[in-house]
Subunit: 473 residues, 2 copies
């Protein structure tokens, strides 16, 4: 099936919501959100009770819905779904999102219902996302079958594939807080038809998608997943959080999205062989995605670290080296510049601990312009009481650490991340100083780990880093 | 040297600040903070220029400082320190904190200065904390030689030993945001005299210290560290973040606090043999400390999980099992209670995914009262747009997930932690619902890992869990 066959899911002309509900609960807010984002004239509600809802007419049957309508979103209880699919098929609609739960994930009776529904869909030549999901989001045209907040509609370069609905939904609630903005998000649920490979194929050619975050419990088709990933990762980074790593975890997935997740080492092999970057946990996935969505490919693995705390420099070094980066001796050109002004107590090394000197900005600039340093981690730290004193006297983070956003503009081709440790007000302030193009982390380890994942992917893609790297970040 | 010898550091009768500075910068705020916390009549400033500062008289020499004064805090440039130590010794003061940098951490000349200073200190029978540190905090009497914020003075059961000054200081800036409150904090710096073992010995017998967090780059004395830890961990949990895990990281520590950190596997062996809980990174250390400071010992390792998202339940299970916990089949008594009211789509298992049903509170209560479940992880999640709708209509997190703080009161003897995934406003709200006695995490993995560390420690301490656990959390 051509990947382009999914386009209507993301760019429908008109949408019918089958089973639009009148009381609070799952799915209630979908028409409200669509109306608020400019879809009022292109959404149609269906509910046997008719009447009106959210200021829109409610059609008793799908047959009565006027044109244009090429996508159906089903919210009814599971037992009614087959009947609704017939109505949808008769109406000539070929793209359906089934959000209703109660299918393969609940055992025998649900599986029977899913088989029956799939047969109907096939008969009508339908593509189906779900059941047991929350559908999808496309920020480019502000289309969403998910009840998300306004901030999640801000367009960005990251696309998401999540097997689970609620989880995908809540991911969209929090990513904007990490300044991670989304192009498309799809939740797959029980995968009656559309699976992660279909979506990967689609996103591969989607010009608005720069990189892909995926949450997977088990592959719909292991061989195809391997094939698909091998193709996609040559064009775009794919980051995956694969759960069901342990037998107990796998047992839990069976009852969740009705998938059999298989031995973890098989997945590990697939990810390793296809250059897919695996996150070890939810935080890791988000940490990496922030670098992939903002930083250019590094030219090598030589990391320069400037820090206001020796300890945090040591922690960053430990992590960076453990994950395959180098923290080389400070290049002599940089060392020379620093020594000119360094106080006696400063050790001019890499990691470069500038302590309470005023040399942070100078050191950061020197590392950014040094050709023998491939990526830079700047660890900003200052006791909060000192920060407040200085801030009140007109000296902000730019004064202490340099205008980091401006430095990024000046050296756009070198990956730069910052870490700000301490009080949340200090961290927020530093996020402003860093600007939207420099990811900020609240401790050094995740920053170093994410940089290592970034390096791993790009060397793999250029064919020079097949081995020697950790596969789980 | 008896541990009690350190008492004056924490409970001085009067304090002289040698080298009190007149302009903004390191140490400037110390007299201001001490004055604000009731120490105005017990602090004395010394600076050759005399006059007045912060509304206090400035004495030109230590000799002129009136009684009572039994602790000196030295803030002068390093080269002046030996002379100041002589003045302090002559004045009869036997406890000294040297915050000045420029000693062993900067190489040969600094080492010579440190040797010279140590000789003077020994001659006068002084105990010295530092140099190259920020001294200490005691929340019980609001005493601090560190410029910390008011929130960091809130007393709590956790004490801190940090080799690094700035890092220790900034840790105090952020811990209160995790509702982690401190009894005592000591930063060690270059350890001219007082080292981590001295402080461990002191904290072991300190009635206000419940558990100890330690950041270490290298042991001052490996054999003594092992001996000391073996004693302390039989009485109080000790959590350690040991950096310098890699050769590159170790190379960086040499220049930082002048310590030789040695092979990591030696430390690993010491921690394993003494039941010391090792954190793999800064986040891990904080995550664990939150459980140790609030939760009772578990009776076993059988974890019950209730969740609003199947995916997060699977992730929690993977982590829990990887770190040595069990996620057993749901006990029949619990399953029976749930089945009574469960909708058809619900899988009554452990982890128990209650989905969008109203059964979260009921399930959580059933797990808490079940004797065959030893600890409980409650994963609260709800799409933020739905949460806002319900909240506006008067239904808050207590309505959805139960009054968690009240449940903790009702079942105080079972470890309970919660996880809230999504928008930060939702997380903040759930932190209120959880109350001060239930730690809240923003993703399932750290919660499960911290529970595993908690279990590890208590079984080790009771002598039943010598092997079979991971040593790094």
């Amino acid at each position: 099936m051509p990947a382009d066959d999914l386009r209507t899911f993301f760019e429908p002309s008109g949408v019918v919501l089958v089973g639009a509900r009148r009381n609070l609960g799952f799915g209630y807010g979908i028409p409200i959100i669509l109306e608020a984002h400019g879809w009022k004239d292109r959404i149609y509600l269906v509910n046997p009770s008719g009447g009106e809802l959210h200021g829109l007419p409610v059609y008793p049957t799908v047959a009565e819905v006027p044109d244009p309508v090429d996508l159906a979103v089903v919210l009814t209880p599971a037992p009614v779904v087959p009947k609704m699919l017939e109505e949808i098929g008769e109406r000539g609609i070929r793209h359906v999102v089934i959000e209703s739960a109660g299918f393969a994930e609940v055992g025998e009776s649900g599986t029977a219902l899913q088989v029956e529904s799939a047969a109907i869909a096939r008969r009508y030549g339908m593509r189906v996302i779900g059941p047991n999901c929350v559908g999808l989001v496309n920020t480019a045209n502000s289309f969403s079958t998910v009840e998300i907040i306004d901030e999640a509609f801000v367009p960005g370069p990251t696309s998401i594939i999540a097997q689970s609905g609620v989880f995908g939904n809540c991911l969209l609630d929090l990513l904007h807080e990490f300044r991670l903005y989304v192009s498309k998000a799809v939740t797959l649920g029980d995968r009656m038809d559309v699976n992660e490979c279909d979506v990967l194929d689609y996103l591969k050619d989607d010009p608005e998608t720069g990189s892909i975050m995926m949450y997977l419990e088990g592959a719909a088709d292991g061989a195809r997943l391997k094939e698909t990933l091998a193709e996609v990762t040559r064009i775009k980074p794919v980051m995956v959080l694969k759960s069901g790593r342990t037998p107990a975890g796998r047992a839990a997935t069976v009852s969740h999205t009705g998938s059999l997740s298989g031995e973890d080492r098989l997945y590990e092999a697939v990810f390793t062989q296809t250059g897919t970057i695996r996150a070890s946990n939810l935080e890791g996935l988000v940490e990496m995605a922030r670098i992939f969505s903002t930083q250019p490919p590094p030219k090598g693995n030589r990391l320069g670290i400037v820090t206001g705390s020796g300890s945090l420099g040591v922690m960053a070094t430990d992590t960076a080296v453990s994950y395959g980066l180098q923290v080389p001796a400070l290049p002599e050109t940089v060392a020379g510049k620093i020594r000119e002004e360094a106080p006696g107590w400063m050790n001019v090394k890499n990691p470069l601990d500038v302590g309470p000197s005023w040399m942070f900005a100078k050191a950061l600039t020197a590392l950014l312009e040094e050709p023998d340093i491939d990526m830079v981690l700047a660890i900003t730290i200052i006791p909060y009481s000192v920060f407040k004193d200085l801030y009140d006297k007109g000296l902000d983070g730019r004064g202490w650490f340099g205008d980091i956003a401006e430095l990024k503009e000046a050296y756009p081709e070198k990956p730069l991340v910052i870490c700000a440790v301490g009080h949340s007000d200090f961290v927020s302030h530093m996020a402003e100083v860093a600007g939207p193009k420099v990811p900020i982390y609240v401790s050094p380890e995740p920053a170093a780990r994410a940089l290592a994942a970034h390096y791993y992917y790009w060397t793999w893609r250029e064919g020079s880093g097949e081995g020697g790297f950790r596969q789980c970040y």
